[in-house]
Symmetry: C2
Subunit: 320 residues, 2 copies
């Protein structure tokens, strides 16, 4: 890895006009890791564009230093592009590769679309890869960079709760504090700016929770009517299926949401079931523990539940 | 501190029959920090009793190593008592002091009721004080101790989100992992064993959220009827007022709950309001950001809200 870090740094040093890019519909790690490089490159005297194809950007990340510098316009000319947290080229949201490309990521599924690919599947976040890159090259991390890296780290670990969390993650967090990060401030920005509409939606949705398969499966519904009554936005549905999975005996949680183009199903598993198999069956995809699909056509909630119940029973067969 | 640590360790070495005690209605830090000392003392060949006066103990902590060894019976004779996370003697739940007492805590309000008082208000948890005690004395921390210390740390910091979190906290967490802690396992035990009754209660309670004072104050209600319909227990109400405080503009959140002995009010503030003042006014108490009281007598929710609204308006006066 140190060799790749060195090669990438050499390339950065010899470039002048650099584009930082992250995946469409960016999360905290995508924006956080790309923004963390901005102060580094500015100190080196580079011309820097922070690009993301999605507009508007998620509001809950608006506290990130230099958030307002993110643009959805690519410059005409640039000699280096650096991508962050993006598993495949098509998710960059640009038409074609027109410059040398350094690809920072931590997804094992990364297609290595860059000229230099720095992929560490053991990292808890792409920002941890960028952090290691900085440490390896003796690059100073200022408070702005650190705040972005730290935000990326806690959003991608659920505030230090996921399997990816180990001693290296905590050592990085300690170092982030030494670089000036205020952990409570970041947590407040992320978790203490909730919307009343979201709580109102939870109230409606939680009423619909239905347990089956001896409590190992739970369904929850979000109808268009609930969204309208509560004034909720799609983002407000984000945590619902995770909260339902958190019920003690539940192994698989499924949220059904009425969207414009069909019924969106969001699947989560807790310990062993591979829900990506079921998402793929319905034309969707995802990970073992978190996957989803959209069912188009003549479906209603009860029909979808019936189908999924059978799928889940098959998936759980043989487990106890 | 090192001097106190040494004195306490000397006292432990010369004692044979030791009682570990923590405050009544124990939380993760109280039980976690007391349980963390058990393997240490057993390795030293001591006879150890882990005491807590509360029965039953909170179920969500039942995964802590040696949880099942906690008893509410004091031994007849013992030569040393060590208390954990307990601010004053009366909260130990015992009648009188009958042995030498070492008092480990991190509450600035600790009344120093011990013979040796090891109080570090800068520590994020009492378990961090115990951790420093072990490091200072060269005491090995095994996986069982570390799991207890780590659990105490994350319950007392809201999974690394509170003001108390700094580089030392993260360094301790990193070390806990090196001692064998599996962070994701602990998080799963704490946060992925939810009750359906709790989500059902949230559904009812969130429907009652009422904003006032330009959105800076929010009320939420929990009636006896809600508890009965949903089959919820008191513990299920724990997070409600925090979730309401998390709404973006809210500075003060108040939960009103119908209890057997009156109306319990739970108060939270986000950034500046000192809600303990209001709790004290109604015969309760607590901290600046989290306080509570129980109103006995002829009150109903609307009357209590009316009174509190005036209190909050006064408290927020002059702020913007």
């Amino acid at each position: 890895m140190d060799n790749l870090f060195k090669k990438a740094f050499e390339k950065i040093k010899e470039s002048n006009n650099i584009v930082l890019i992250s995946h469409i519909n960016p999360d905290g790690d995508a924006l956080g890791s790309s923004l963390s490089m901005y102060p580094v490159l500015k100190r080196m005297g580079k011309k820097v564009t922070i690009f993301n194809a999605t507009k508007p950007l998620p509001e809950y990340l608006d506290f990130l230093p230099n958030f307002n510098k993110v643009t959805d316009k690519l410059p005409k000319n640039f000699d280096l592009m650096i991508s962050f947290d993006c598993g495949s080229f098509d998710r960059l949201g640009i038409e074609k590769k027109t410059a040398f490309l350094i690809n920072f990521d931590h997804h094992i599924s990364n297609t290595e679309y860059g000229d230099i690919n720095i992929i560490d599947p053991n990292a808890a976040s792409t920002s941890q890869v960028v952090y290691n890159f900085c440490k390896s090259n003796g690059i100073d991390i200022d408070k702005e960079s650190a705040t972005c890296m730290y935000t990326a780290l806690i959003t991608d670990t659920g505030s230090f709760q996921y399997e990816s969390v180990n001693d290296k993650v905590f050592e990085m967090a300690a170092d982030m504090v030494r670089c000036g990060v205020e952990p409570a401030y970041v947590s407040k920005m992320l978790f203490q700016r909730d919307r009343l509409s979201r709580l109102r939606l939870l109230a409606k949705a939680y009423e619909t929770i239905e347990m089956c398969c001896d409590g190992r499966v739970a369904f929850v519904e979000v109808t268009r009517e609930m969204m309208e009554i509560t004034g909720a936005i799609k983002e407000d549905t984000d945590t619902i299926v995770n909260s339902v999975r958190a019920i003690a005996p539940v192994e698989i949680a499924a949220m059904l949401r009425e969207d414009e183009d069909g019924i969106k199903i969001s699947l989560r598993s807790k310990n062993y079931a591979d829900v990506s198999k079921i998402a793929v069956k319905y034309g969707g995809g995802g990970h073992i523990r978190a996957a989803g699909a959209t069912l188009k056509g003549e479906f209603d909630f009860s029909k979808v539940k019936e189908m999924l119940k059978k799928d889940f029973q098959n998936l759980l067969k043989g487990d106890k």
